[in-house]
């Protein structure tokens, strides 16, 4: 049996008026999964998430159940669950609508996950610019406390949990989990060396799990439906539904929750096709940090394996679609300027590399580039990829290397008029 093209699970309640309020949430099966979960044991919940094959929705796709199982069984130190709601990867716009429309699903997920990991304090680190989400989450947390879903002895289970909603302050790097932890500790958001991993020494050096919003919000549905239900959607190694955010030159951009493995061709069909019929040129499967694709990849299954086999990554399923009118070197330059601005400065390859990459691209786009600049770009990229402290550096080179791979001619064309010029000899006048 194959699932329908769109499988509204996380997005289903979004259609209901006032879906963010507790009474509406409760009418729509809200907090039923929590009651069921609290009757089970933490071990059962971890096993369930493992069985379901839920993979992290923040970009890396690490199996959530395995991550949860890394938390120590004892409680020698407090355990923390930290939700990464610092949505900022260019193109990504799924967690913010989720938290606005259905904040209680995230909170219910937090309670279930905290119970499974023996955590009694959960932090939701929300991107500062997402003020309306912060407001809705705070209101939802307040409602949940009043209704006895949070606080002491939740639903007479003996389990206690507090949730703190924490606003960030504008730093893309804080989406990196260890930078997020430093930021949450009141420091500059710079990544930490791993190991130790957060499960061993995370927030305040205590066992911590950091999960993305969409991952945690999936937990209540898995508790209610079971692993087999979840696996009816998506593919063997990438099960479940996923919110694909389609933006750019399409007729109907928006949020489409489809089974993992859906292709761009199918997504474009749902989104009304290319805007004004202007043909597709390039697109990202999951944000600017995932190498770009072209028309060749219309039928690539967009799940963790499919995107990787085709030379990219699934990332955050932020499908940014660009038509023939957009210059690839220009787009790459814009993205590179973003990484230059957001590089935290901790490690040299990323700090210096993004700085020089942006300058070279700016020069090329302004028409002053030479063919050698392409080699210089690739050389700098080679010195960043795998050599920087965290994944920001790896992400920064993705648009450049993939852009040159598929559209080298466009970069060359920018250098054309500088090619004819004779090399100037030092000290010599023409």
């Amino acid at each position: 049996m194959t699932a329908d093209p769109i499988t509204p699970v996380l997005t289903k309640r979004w259609l209901s008026p006032y879906s963010w309020k507790l009474d509406i949430y409760e009418k729509l099966e809200g907090y039923t999964a929590l009651r069921k979960a609290l009757k089970g044991t933490p071990e059962q919940l971890v096993q369930l998430i493992k069985d379901a094959g839920l993979r992290g929705r923040g970009g890396a796709g690490f199996p959530a159940g395995i991550k949860w199982s890394f938390m120590p069984p004892n409680e020698d130190k407090p355990h923390y669950l930290v939700v990464n709601a610092d949505e900022g990867e260019p193109g990504t716009c799924k967690d913010i609508p989720l938290m606005m429309a259905d904040p209680h699903s995230l909170i219910e997920g937090c309670i279930i996950a905290s119970y499974a990991m023996r955590s009694h304090h959960c932090f939701i680190y929300v991107r500062g610019e997402a003020l309306h989400c912060i407001r809705r989450l705070n209101a939802a947390v307040r409602e949940a406390y009043d209704a006895g879903y949070l606080g002491v002895d939740i639903l007479s289970s003996g389990f206690d949990l507090d949730i703190t909603v924490h606003a960030g302050a504008g730093a893309y790097i804080c989406g990196e989990e260890t930078a997020l932890l430093d930021s949450l500790e009141g420091r500059r958001g710079q990544p930490r060396l791993k190991p130790p991993f957060p499960a061993a020494a995370g927030l305040y050096a205590a066992p911590t799990t950091v999960n993305n919003v969409e991952t945690i919000a999936s937990a209540p549905f898995i508790v209610n439906g079971g692993a087999d239900w979840f696996r009816k959607m998506g593919r063997e190694k990438s099960p479940g539904p996923k919110i694909y955010s389609i933006s750019g030159h399409v007729e109907k951009p928006g949020q489409y929750e489809c089974p993992l493995g859906t292709t761009l061709r199918e997504l474009l069909d749902m989104a009304g096709g290319m805007k004004d019929g202007i043909p597709l040129k390039f697109w990202t499967p999951g944000g600017s940090s995932t190498p770009m694709f072209t028309v060749e990849h219309l039928d690539t299954p967009l799940d963790f394996e499919g995107a990787a086999e085709a030379g990219s990554m699934l990332g955050t399923t932020a499908v940014q679609v660009f038509n023939e009118t957009v210059s690839v070197p220009w787009a790459v330059m814009k993205w590179t300027q973003f990484y230059e601005h957001e590089s935290c400065g901790k490690c040299t390859p990323c700090r210096e590399g993004t700085y020089w990459l942006a300058q070279i691209l700016e020069r090329m786009v302004a028409g002053h580039g030479t063919e050698e600049d392409i080699d210089t770009l690739l050389d700098v990229c080679d010195n960043i990829l795998g050599r920087s402290f965290c994944a920001l550096g790896d992400g920064a080179v993705s648009p450049i290397t993939s852009g040159i791979k598929y559209f080298r001619d466009e970069f060359l064309a920018l250098c054309e008029k500088n090619k004819a010029a004779k090399p100037e000899l030092v000290g010599a006048q023409a």
């Binding site: 329908d4 606003a167 504008g170 660009f322």
Partner: protein, 253 residues
């Protein structure tokens, strides 16, 4: 340093940050297992008073958290949302990241810069038109991806979303702000001002229940946001039906 900044610099801390702000700072510290975690919200709090993070704001945070001015400054200068110069009544942030830019975000930013500029000089990034603290003053900035790409080109005023912008729409918006009006955002709460937004970012929301409800219930259900769910409903597409199944059995270790 301007005259007003100089006058402020000579003001003692407890005159700038009154009892209410001190109580709020103490309340922030109580929310965390370790006090230093309250630093980011506390920096938002001092911005809600002065419209930027001043030297006194830094000392205030340091005093309450047992940190040196240097430690607080290191943090304040790291994050884009902490402004080092007084912000206008409103902060207008225009997304110029690649996708919004391709859809017209760069044009919008240029048009607004020129429109708000004086003597033929366009307004620059993080520059203010009007006098900070006075009605109708605007600080302009270009922003990185604001996570509303399906609604691009987007901008924010005091971090509330104005979606699907054009140069004409944005110029009308900034003109209205300059004239002291507060147009409703596409998604978000009714506009207050930059300082009001910062107070909410610090974690303090309106105590008046009517205003609180109006803020929380401010619109969010954009057509774009609901498109997938709507299409599924029209076509009768659903997720597999949920049947109640027991949690898996596990071996007791």
């Amino acid at each position: 340093m301007t005259q007003s900044e100089q006058a402020q610099a000579e003001q003692p801390l407890d005159e700038i940050f009154d009892e209410d702000i001190v109580a709020k700072a103490e309340n922030l510290i109580e929310r965390y297992p370790q006090s230093r975690s309250a630093l980011l919200p506390m920096l938002h709090l001092v911005q809600s008073v002065q419209g930027y993070v001043s030297q006194e704001g830094i000392s205030f945070c340091g005093k309450h958290l047992g940190l040196s001015d240097a430690e607080v400054t290191a943090v304040a200068t790291f994050y884009t949302m902490y402004k080092r110069r007084p912000c206008g009544e409103h902060l207008v942030s225009i997304c110029t990241n690649t996708l919004c830019a391709a859809l017209g975000g760069d044009e919008i930013y240029q048009a607004v810069r020129e429109h708000l500029g004086t003597d033929g000089k366009p307004l620059g990034h993080e520059e203010t038109v009007g006098t900070p603290g006075e009605k109708g003053s605007i600080t302009l900035e270009h922003a990185e991806c604001l996570a509303a790409c399906d609604l691009g080109p987007v901008l924010q005023v005091n971090y509330e979303y104005f979606d699907n912008q054009t140069p004409e729409k944005t110029i009308a918006l900034v003109d209205a702000l300059r004239a002291g009006k507060k147009p409703a955002p596409t998604r978000g709460a009714p506009l207050t001002d930059f300082k009001g937004a910062e107070l909410q970012l610090a974690g303090f929301f309106p105590e008046d229940p009517i205003q609180y409800r109006a803020d929380v219930d401010g619109p969010s259900q954009a057509v774009e946001t609901l498109r997938g769910a709507q299409l599924a409903q029209e076509r009768g597409w659903i997720a597999p039906v949920i049947e109640d199944v027991p949690l898996p059995e596990v071996q007791k270790k």
